[in-house]
């Protein structure tokens, strides 16, 4: 019995299908004017990777500066700009669109058996909006950056800094509309475009997760938009709504900002959870344990996620009663995440597990997300929040969730669906190595920050007391390893585009509809409209289907 499920076609005879979405049309224009969700997914993948490495380079600068207690590599205001740009780039240009706009765009229609998203032009528009936002951020960076922190706290951002707040705000505003349109498109598609037989409870959990995240995108983002509009008016004209001198309340900005930005972390993590559900099921050859619970926990996270935003403001002067309510609600939103973790774990139970790269990343996700989630409870608990908030503890917490969780899930998904997107396999051994390196590097980088935070080291400090240096050195050293871990996939995935083994339709023997068609898929996704006649993750159905196919081949032969 081999310890892998990879089943590739005979490499001597296998060919990449001549007709596919990549080869259908050629030329730059055919990409820039495409309505094909798969091509737009690829456009997103390229642009997101670009911005990820910009954000990553900025992170590298931050870690370098923090190698020593003094602010010596750069002046403090440069450091402030660097961490602000790191936050803006990573959150609005990488984490929010990462899985939904690339993998979601590419696979959501295929998974539900549709030919495309419901509104292909809007989909393309949202990529252009994303690019305009991204370019604006780059322009901001070149013309002097911005140093408000990605949270744009008033009155600092409105009255006390003289950097490019407006252009950054505009960039975030525009990128926000990109994500609204992506979310809107997904919701319409999931409601209206499902193939015959694809009932709600036959949807892959990836689709459920995207549905939940889309709700958050559609309903949360406009509030951020209006907060930014008011901020811009305050900064340009001085309308006073956030200005205490004129009777405004600066905390109102944070209410509006976090009304989006807390749900935004669920926008970032939910699609990642969707990826993990697919990967864990496929590599343990088993239906996800408690499908309904996992599906509903996604929706529960989306719903509860809207009602906890003030836990970012526990010590900022919100009323103590509000603190109680928001703290309690925060505890409730933690439960669905716990449910998911246990359900994934028990999916392994009595499975038939193999350890390909996507699975390794998924394991990494589960470990790191568990830590990230549990430390979130530390911060949602009003008492301990007093000590831990605004320190490196919070930095470590959200990097565990966002980088340890989301980025691991993203990489897991990229590896999982790479053969489908490109028709070629990546080299297995080196990719497994990259997964392990990433995991190790990540823990080295961010685990010391929990201790730093508990010790009280404040976030966003260019210089810090000397006694914190040892842990900071650890963290910086880890970041170097992490950087290698992220560079490796870029190299071998690019390599595989030309030299990778031909993957065939279904190298992982996965059950999703997207695997039941050729790789790379046709522009229309399916030769004929698929009819869903089985539950999601039905491996027995897949086996029967394969047997039939073999028989067919045999009888023809």
């Amino acid at each position: 019995m081999s310890d892998t499920i990879v089943s590739l076609p005979d490499q001597s005879t296998a060919r990449i299908p001549k007709m596919n979405y990549l080869s259908k049309e050629n030329g730059l224009l055919s990409w820039l004017l495409t309505g094909d969700h798969k091509r737009i997914g690829i456009l997103y993948l390229i642009s997101i990777t670009f911005f990820f490495f910009i954000g990553g380079a900025l992170a590298g600068l931050i870690r370098l500066e923090l190698l020593t207690p003094q602010s010596d590599l750069m002046a403090t205001d440069t450091y402030n700009k660097v961490f602000t740009m790191h936050g803006v780039v990573m959150i609005f240009l990488f984490l929010v669109p990462s899985v939904p706009a690339t993998l979601g765009n590419f696979f959501l229609p295929m998974m539900i058996g549709a030919k495309d998203l419901a509104l292909p032009k809007v989909n393309l528009l949202s990529w252009y909006l994303y690019m305009i936002g991204g370019i604006l951020v780059l322009v901001t960076m070149i013309t002097g950056g911005v140093d408000t922190g990605w949270t744009f706290t008033t009155p600092l951002s409105t009255h006390y800094v003289n950097t490019n707040v407006l252009s950054t705000g505009l960039a975030v505003f525009i990128a926000g509309f990109s994500s609204i349109f992506t979310g809107l498109n997904f919701i319409v598609t999931i409601h209206k475009m499902r193939a015959p037989g694809m009932t709600w409870f036959r949807l892959p959990l990836f689709v459920w997760a995207h549905y939940a995240a889309s709700i958050l995108m559609v309903l949360g983002t406009p509030v951020l938009a209006i907060a930014i509009v008011l901020l811009a008016l305050e900064r340009t004209i001085g309308i006073g709504v956030f200005d205490p001198a004129k009777g405004g309340d600066p905390l109102l900005f944070q209410h509006l900002f976090w009304f989006y930005s807390h749900p935004a972390v669920y926008i970032m993590i939910l699609p990642g959870m969707g990826v993990i559900s697919e990967v864990i099921s496929t590599f343990s050859r088993k239906r996800v344990f408690g499908y309904t619970a996992v599906a509903f926990s996604s929706v529960a996270i989306a719903v509860f996620g809207f009602f906890v935003w003030a836990h970012h403001m526990f010590i900022m002067g919100v009323s103590n009663y509000a603190v109680l309510v928001f703290s309690l609600l925060t505890m409730l939103v933690a439960v669905p995440s716990a449910i998911k973790i246990f359900n994934w774990t028990f999916t392994l139970y009595k499975g038939s597990i193999t350890f390909e790269t996507p699975m390794l990343y998924a394991f990494g996700f589960m470990g790191l997300f568990t830590i990230g989630g549990l430390t979130g409870v530390f911060l949602g608990t009003s008492g301990t929040d007093i000590h831990l908030t605004e320190t490196y503890f919070i930095v470590a917490h959200f990097h565990f969730v966002m980088v340890g969780g989301m980025l691991m899930a993203f990489l897991s998904g990229i590896h999982f669906w790479w053969p489908k997107m490109t028709g070629r396999m990546y080299p297995e051994k080196i990719s497994q190595l990259a997964a392990v390196v990433t995991f190790i590097g990540f823990n080295f980088t961010f685990f010391p920050q929990f201790i730093l935070g508990t010790l009280g080291m404040p976030r966003r400090y260019a210089s810090y007391p000397a006694e914190f240096q040892i842990l900071n050195v650890f963290s910086t050293a880890g970041a170097t390893i992490l950087g290698v871990g992220y560079l490796l996939p870029v190299l071998y995935l690019t390599w595989s585009l030309k030299y990778g083994a031909i993957a065939g339709d279904n190298p992982w023997q996965a059950t999703g509809l997207e695997w039941q068609t050729q790789s790379p898929p046709l522009t229309e996704n399916f030769v004929e409209m698929p009819i869903m006649d089985h539950e999601a993750y039905d491996y027995e159905w897949l086996e029967r289907k394969n047997l039939e196919k073999q028989k067919e081949v045999a009888s023809v032969g």
Partner: protein, 102 residues
């Protein structure tokens, strides 16, 4: 498709449109009139009450929601719910701040 197809063009007759239009005009007249009468705390409540009913009329008839699918109704309901949550939960902080520290 699981959503039913009752959306398929329910044509609302112009007579209903005219009725609604008239009701909206009457509503506007009443709000303006009511704002000149001193009713104490009732003033804003009446003003908002009339605005809400006018909005409901527009949504139900001009926007055809009365004849729309459950999905459309649910969507609107979800939007309103979250709108109330945004306003209500934010205001709850501001109101309870005035109660003092505990």
């Amino acid at each position: 498709m699981s959503e039913n197809k009752e959306h398929a063009l329910h044509i609302v007759s112009p007579r209903i449109y005219v009725t609604i239009f008239a009701l909206l005009l009457v509503g506007t007249a009443i709000t303006i009139w009511a704002s000149y009468v001193d009713l104490g705390v009732l003033n804003p409540i009446i003003a908002l009450g009339i605005a809400c009913s006018k909005a409901t009329l527009v949504v139900l008839f001009f926007m055809h929601v009365k004849y729309a699918t459950k999905l459309t109704k649910l969507t609107i309901f979800a939007g309103l719910f979250l709108f109330m949550a945004l306003v209500g939960m934010t205001l709850s902080d501001y109101i309870s701040r005035a109660w003092g520290s505990w």
